[in-house]
């Protein structure tokens, strides 16, 4: 199976700061890869290269076989699902309209029906939710709606930027299990940014550890635990054990 997402020798600088230093990573079709690292490690910058919210200074980024630098960023973003950390629901639109956003932008048939289906996928009742305002929902419901919005146009690929980071532990666990079910059901390819090793181990097939703009190690959770490749990965594991 070919790579759904690929970064080859990708570099990005912001002034004197090196955000990405010759990073190469592949995400296979149907695979979930977690990008883990601390703030400033470059994990979010790498994620944003895949829907051209950021354009790298050097290297090639490929989405479903196409070099993204040759594609129209707006078209690309409409094909790739995206869940930001804060949900990013438009506060002046009801939930139904928020979730129907991408189908509407792509001119698909019956966006409200697609929105209803997506709400059901994430465990929200369209009849109760579609007409409510984002501020009337709990944090967990808002984040579910944000996931529904990313999936409403049925993309093959979803990018998630610390999607459950701002939630309390119980709500987070609920959303994590919902996400696992969705992945299986929809055979999604997912790239997930997180700073939580436990979350990465739970949700991802492989974990990519980033540190100061470089990839330290890319491996399945078990292998990462058994054979940390660098001192930084060992520190990360040790810290997670103390905390977890």
């Amino acid at each position: 199976m070919g790579a759904a997402l690929a970064a080859r020798e990708v570099s990005k600088r912001y002034g004197a700061i090196v955000a990405l230093d010759r990073v190469s990573l592949e995400v296979r079709q149907g695979e979930c890869v977690a990008l883990i690292g601390e703030s400033g490690s470059g994990k979010t910058t790498l994620l944003r290269c895949f829907n051209r919210l950021t354009d790298p200074d050097a290297g090639v980024v490929v989405v479903q076989g196409d070099d993204v630098s040759a594609s129209d960023p707006v078209d690309l973003r409409r094909r790739v699902g995206y869940v930001p950390q804060d949900g990013g629901l438009l506060p002046h639109w009801p939930i139904g309209r928020n979730v129907a956003l991408v189908p509407w932008l792509r001119g698909m048939n019956d966006p409200p029906a697609l929105a209803d289906q997506a709400l059901r996928l994430v465990g929200l009742d369209p009849a109760a939710m579609a007409n409510r305002w984002p501020r009337e929902l709990s944090g967990g419901q808002r984040q579910r709606a944000a996931v529904a919005r990313a999936l409403a146009a049925r993309p093959d690929i979803v990018l998630l930027d610390e999607p459950f980071g701002a939630l309390d532990a119980i709500t987070r666990a609920d959303l994590q299990s919902t996400f696992l079910e969705l992945r299986r059901e929809l055979a999604l390819t997912a790239l997930l940014v997180t700073h939580d090793l436990a979350e990465a181990c739970l949700l991802a097939d492989r974990i990519a550890v980033m540190h100061q703009g470089r990839l330290e190690q890319v491996a399945p959770p078990g292998e990462l635990r058994e054979a940390p490749a660098t001192a930084y990965v060992r520190t990360l594991l040790a810290r997670a054990r103390v905390v977890g």
């Binding site: 409409r78 990013g88 506060p91």
Partner: protein
Amino acid sequence: MTVGVMSGSAAGALHPARLLAQQPDPPIVVASKPFGESYLLAELFAQLLEARGLTAERRLGLGATEIAFAALRRGAIDVYPEYTGTGLLAILHARPSADPRAAYAQVAREFRERFGVRWLPPLGFQNTYAIALRRETAERLRLRTLTDLARVAPTLRAGLTPDFLGRADGLPGLQGAYGLRFRDTRALLPAIKYQALAAGEVDVIDGYGTDGLIARYDLVVLEDDRGFFPPYEAAAVLAPGLAERRPAVVAALTELSGRLSETAMRGLNRRVEVDGEPVARVAGDALRELGLVAPGGDASGPRPEQGRAGLADYLWAERATLLRLVTRHLLLVSVSLVAAIAVAVPLGLALERARRGAETVIRGVGVLQTIPGIALLAFMLPVLGIGLVPALVALFLYSLYPILRNTYAGVRNAAPDAVGAARALGMTPRQILRHVRLPLAAPLILAGIRTAAVINVGTATLAAFIGAGGLGDPIAAGLALSDTRMILSGALPAAVLALGVDAALGACERVVRPGGG
């Protein structure tokens, strides 16, 4: 009491002469400056023109000499009453002649040569500056002349009009001629100087020789024993070319030449300023007494007698006029506001896209806000003249800043996470602006519009000084005629209007608040 200045044009419209005269000629625009005698003289001109079968349009209370004269030069008005001394000093910047005839000859010649403006023969009276004190002060200090005053001036407080403080024939010249040095000199507006003197706030004021209020407050006018003040003979001045185009105007107005004595004028001023009689009635009576109109042919038509009725009765009696003024005021406010919205909102959105330099542009527009209203009107006068257009332009300029500032701040600060998500999910910049930034900024933009509208309702009262009408008319007239009730008849509706506009836009703001309020 009916307000001459307010009802004058309505009366003119009903005049039989106007219905009979099937002439295509445009009306003669008669103007005045914003003080009582000027209103009265302009009303005399207008009624006399109407009695001779011409149509008169009144533009009373124009800002001051500079505004009235600039309007005359451009032909925006046809005629207004002016004084020879003012013409010499304020307009020609010439040294005044002590001889009234020489002064008149000089203004008549130089105005014709330099501006094409025609002075008709003088009306017959002089209204020069008068230095006035309370009778008690004059008797206690035994003051009869300005020379006497110079002796005790260092113990007295003077309240002088800004005009008088700055003019060569005002305080600066007076100091030179008599060596006058007051203990304290403060600037007082004409509308309040008499009250300030009567209340003992100041000891000396400048007035005009024919002011009716000199008699009302029993003041003593000091004799100009060194003949310092230049002659101030009143006359009608005509716009360039008017005399040639409309000889009937010259014929009608010269009937007044030499007919008004100082005593007669002081009596007429007194009826207007002290007794509070309507300008139109006093002018009509004067024309009948002079035999210039037939007895009974009241040019201003019959009016209900209101005397000194209460404010509420007065407002009720004037409701038709006030409604017309409110409508005019709303026109001024709404047209200028709509134009400002049409410019400031797109500009604010454009600046959000081009952030570099945005602050500079917004600050530049903000500087406009600091120009005083009357100064802005004066700057624009040479280009735009007087009346509706410059008033709309001024109000438009004043409305830009709050709308621009709020639009820019609103779209720039609109929920950054929502904007970021909209972009990440594939909205184009234009879609983000239209569907995200603009709706989220709408309450702030509307708050800016609301601020501009309320300021605008207040500022629009200044439009009266350039003849644009609205609720400033009775305010300007009331200030000129010392009529508090008349001032309130403009100021109260303006305040109510401001509150109403604020409430209406507040309701709109709640409707556009995103997320269902």
